[in-house]
């Protein structure tokens, strides 16, 4: 348990992806079965433990300490799980106390009935030290919140076994905690686990961005063009009565989209884009947002924002694997297949006819629907390959939007950037003439060169007006301020931000040392984009 607790403590404070991978891989290498497998299940959200409500934690701690002292403590720390883990009175520090194992903790929690659950939890907390108590409380209250996605955990497993992460994604849904067979294979002690389960995920094929000069080398006749829809890439698989809707990283998202999942009355595997609305009236990205990141969906949500799938590709029909066929054959099969599906939930992603690259460029710049973010190019003869092979598929995105904003706050980075102010909050002007105010519209921490970073860092240090921990407030008014040209992919309405807008993928595209702060853009410019 202590090693798992230590892992959580380090992961939550480690900002870099590589750092997290090292910590995870080292943990999986050092810890034995079944503890490491249970840790993997906890991190990927596959550990089944009856939840304990925060109120129960408060009750348990109230039985053990003065409520006034607990109140002072909770006020100071601000997080219930952390406060309880810290103030929990250790019964008596016995020297022979053996710290519980993760497997032991999980076994006891899973075996506990509803009525003796609190008692079991209290006993476990008695046996654990501070870090382990925190980890136990996190396990029972649900949600570790350590900034590690299931995808990252799978990448760590791939690093451990020196295999491609696609292999693990493909197997994943056929495996169950504590994954002893998976670890045995990764450590070379056993064969690869059989793909025994039904409706497994097939690693998706991804495209490369069109780079400078790429198109000149390509013959337009070799490629099909298709709209690039800005929804969620999904894979709908149904085999032997089992159906699953996967995200592009192999996470099962059926639970969040029961309306679409229930309409899957075929036998096969389809690659496509999940969108909101209906095939005849495709919704906007704001509509789609209503359905994102939800564990449960209300009937109203299902009625107002129905999900459907725009189909790109067909990977399997019945027992026939189509992935080795060329795209034009798969496309023909797909066109026939989609006709057999529920037309309110499935439609075909149309191809875009074009004569040459200049013609396609014109079409790309003015797509027929706001949720289109560019075009896809697919070689007619390309098989369906896992990963991002160079050549067969390209994505050619619409040019980003840009806005001139003023730097308002800068925050220190991490790791290599820990002595640099590298995360920038910027704002645009709002309010009546003569009483303009900057209102923050976004935050960006990439897009600039190392040299530019040094320049901005110096500017921040020379123009600081206030400090809050790692954040500096930078002088920014009508006469002073650094103007940043910010590129972004789109704009969403936001009730969380004062400005009412939230940018998608903002990055710094240019430093406008030449531009006076007063000439930066106004919020109205951004709001106008919301309505397109």
């Amino acid at each position: 348990m202590n090693r798992f607790a230590e892992l959580l403590d380090r992961l939550v404070l480690t900002p870099s992806r590589n750092g997290k991978l090292t910590l995870l891989t080292d943990y999986f290498r050092a810890v034995e079965d079944p503890d490491r497998g249970l840790a993997l299940a906890a991190i990927t959200g596959n550990l089944d433990i009856a939840a304990v409500k925060p109120a129960m934690l408060r009750t348990l701690v109230a039985e053990r300490m003065d409520p006034v002292l607990f109140g002072y403590s909770y006020d100071y720390v601000g997080d219930l799980a952390e406060t309880v883990s810290l103030v929990w009175p250790a019964p008596s520090e016995r020297q022979d106390r053996v710290p519980p194992t993760l497997a032991g903790v999980v076994r006891q929690l899973q075996a506990a009935s509803r009525s003796d659950g609190p008692k079991v939890l209290a006993r476990l907390l008695d046996e654990a030290d501070v870090s382990a108590r925190f980890a136990i409380i996190k396990l029972v209250t649900g949600g570790l919140r350590i900034g590690v996605s299931a995808r990252l955990a799978k990448q760590a497993l791939a690093d451990l076994g020196k295999v491609d992460v696609a292999e693990i994604e493909e197997l994943w849904h056929g495996l169950t905690p504590p994954y002893a067979d998976l670890f045995a294979w990764l450590e070379g002690r056993a064969a690869k686990p059989e793909k025994s389960a039904r409706a497994l995920f097939r690693p998706v094929m991804l495209a490369n961005a069109v780079g400078d000069g790429d198109l000149e080398k390509l013959d337009p006749a070799d490629y099909a063009a298709e709209w690039k829809w800005d929804g969620i890439r999904v894979q709908a698989v149904r085999e032997g009565g089992v159906h699953r809707l996967y995200s592009r990283t192999g996470d099962d998202v059926s639970g969040a989209f029961p309306d679409l999942a229930e309409a899957m009355d075929f036998s096969g595997a389809i690659d496509g884009e999940l969108l909101v609305g209906t095939p005849s009236a495709t919704g906007s990205f704001s509509d789609l947002q209503q359905r994102l990141n939800r564990k449960t969906v209300s009937p109203k949500m299902l009625r107002d924002y129905p999900a459907f799938m725009r189909c790109y590709d067909l990977l399997q029909i019945e027992d026939e694997d189509l992935r080795g066929l060329p795209f034009h054959e798969r496309r023909q099969r797909l066109e026939a297949f989609v006709k057999t599906l529920d037309p309110t939930r499935f439609d075909l992603s149309p191809l875009v006819a074009f004569g040459g690259w200049p013609e396609l460029e014109t079409v790309r710049a003015a797509p027929p629907h706001p949720i289109i973010e560019g075009v896809m190019l697919k070689r007619w003869d390309s098989p369906y390959l896992a990963g991002r092979p160079k050549g067969p598929w390209f994505k050619w995105k619409r040019d980003p939007h840009t806005v001139d904003a003023v730097l308002m706050y800068a925050q220190r980075g991490h790791g290599k950037r820990s002595s640099f102010y590298s995360d920038y909050t910027f704002g645009v002007w709002s309010g009546a003439e003569g009483a303009e105010e900057l209102v923050p519209v976004g935050k960006a921490y990439f897009g600039f060169t190392d040299e530019e970073l040094r320049q901005i860092d110096k500017y921040v240090r020379d123009n600081t007006i206030e400090r809050f921990g790692p954040v500096r407030s930078v002088r920014a008014d009508r006469n002073n301020g650094l103007v940043l040209e910010v590129a972004f992919e789109g704009l969403n309405r936001s009730t969380r931000h004062k400005s009412g807008v939230a940018m998608r993928f903002p990055r710094i595209s240019r430093l406008r040392w030449d531009k006076p702060a007063a000439e930066a853009d106004r919020i109205e410019t951004l709001r106008a984009l919301l309505d397109t």
Binding site: V12, L13, Y72, S73, Y76, D79, L86, V87, D129, S419
Partner: protein, 336 residues
């Protein structure tokens, strides 16, 4: 005599009217008794200073030899009479030279603890329990949430991380007096025998520690000489916490920022400071040490100063011990 007539707060600091002296005054006074060398307790400009030999030496290092007109070294446990008031200095276990000050007059005995801890520390003499009527305790970590783990456990985390990330350097933020040398000493005790790189602000004090016979091993200045960033791959670098957000830190390759402090017990504190590896190593008592020490002194009354007074006062009330906050001005309750 009433305890509050023997010692009470004045704007300059804690004052003893019959003895006519101050303990750890924050403004220049005629006669000052100093518990330890941290700058908020030990200031320059008093006429005469009574403190341990080590504290006097540390003050001279920080402020120059003329930091006071006259100085007198207090030997541990030795009784000194000041205008009829008896005082003595006893180890507080906080940093090298740190002492509690016993003040006794007409059968009333008060012990002013200064800052103290009970965890063993190879770089200073251990805390000595001095029974008293009134115990003046610090309360930097005076909340039940502060429970410091054993320091060797935290150093173990640091060394593990050094092994896990050999291409990065580990920057350990630690206060220049006491904490930095304790971290060095702990690294040596854990068998780490490579040179430790230090920020210039640590050099003089660390040298003094070593001159008193405390083994800190080989210390090298953390400067780039001819080489480059790669020189610091795998290195442990110790410096004052503020230095790591400074441009000074750019000479290190992809640093792991560590901070050795009792505050690191609270995750949000570590997050806010951008600390990647918190090391819960404190030179102040945690909650359990504070409450155990109050019991150990047998004091019937406790005055609580700098820190979170209210929780410790509440605990004393629950234990049936008279307690009140003692409002002293000018001390950093964020030290450590």
């Amino acid at each position: 005599m009433r305890a509050s007539d023997l010692l009470h707060p004045r704007p300059e600091g804690l004052y003893c009217p019959p003895g006519d002296f101050f303990i750890d005054p924050v403004r220049p006074v005629e006669r000052a008794l100093i518990t330890h060398g941290h700058s908020d307790h030990a200031r320059a400009g008093h006429r005469s200073v009574l403190a341990t030999r080590e504290t006097l030496a540390i003050m001279a290092l920080r402020y120059g030899e003329g930091f006071a007109e006259t100085t007198q070294a207090a030997k541990p446990g030795e009784r000194v009479r000041l205008n009829g008031v008896e005082v003595s200095f006893h180890p507080a276990g906080h940093v090298l030279g740190s002492a509690q000050i016993r003040v006794e007059h007409q059968a009333t005995r008060i012990v002013a603890s200064g800052d103290y801890k009970r965890q063993p520390d190879a770089t200073c003499a251990p805390f000595e329990v001095v029974p008293c009527d009134v115990f003046i305790t610090e309360a930097t970590f005076g909340l039940p949430v502060f429970r410091h783990p054993p320091d060797h456990h935290e150093i173990g985390l640091l060394l593990k991380s050094v092994a896990q990330f050999p291409e990065r350097s580990h920057l350990v933020g630690a206060y220049a007096l006491g904490k930095a040398q304790r971290v060095m000493s702990l690294l040596r005790q854990a068998g780490y025998d490579k040179p430790i790189h230090i920020h210039g602000a640590l050099a003089k004090i660390s040298e003094y520690y070593q001159a008193t016979g405390i083994d800190l091993g080989e210390l090298l200045p953390a400067t780039v000489e001819g080489g480059g960033k790669a020189d610091f791959a795998g290195a442990v670098v110790i410096g004052p916490p503020a230095a790591f957000s400074d441009r000074w830190a750019r000479r290190f390759p992809d640093p792991v920022s560590c901070f050795a402090s009792g505050w690191m017990r609270i995750r949000q504190r570590a997050k806010q400071r951008g600390v990647e590896l918190p090391l819960i190593i404190s030179d102040h008592s945690d909650w359990d040490e504070l409450t155990a020490t109050i019991r150990d002194t047998g004091a019937s009354e406790v005055w609580v100063t700098h820190g979170r007074e209210e929780a410790l006062v509440r605990w004393c009330e629950l234990e049936g011990i008279a307690a009140r906050p003692l409002h002293l001005v000018g001390y950093e309750d964020e030290g450590d």
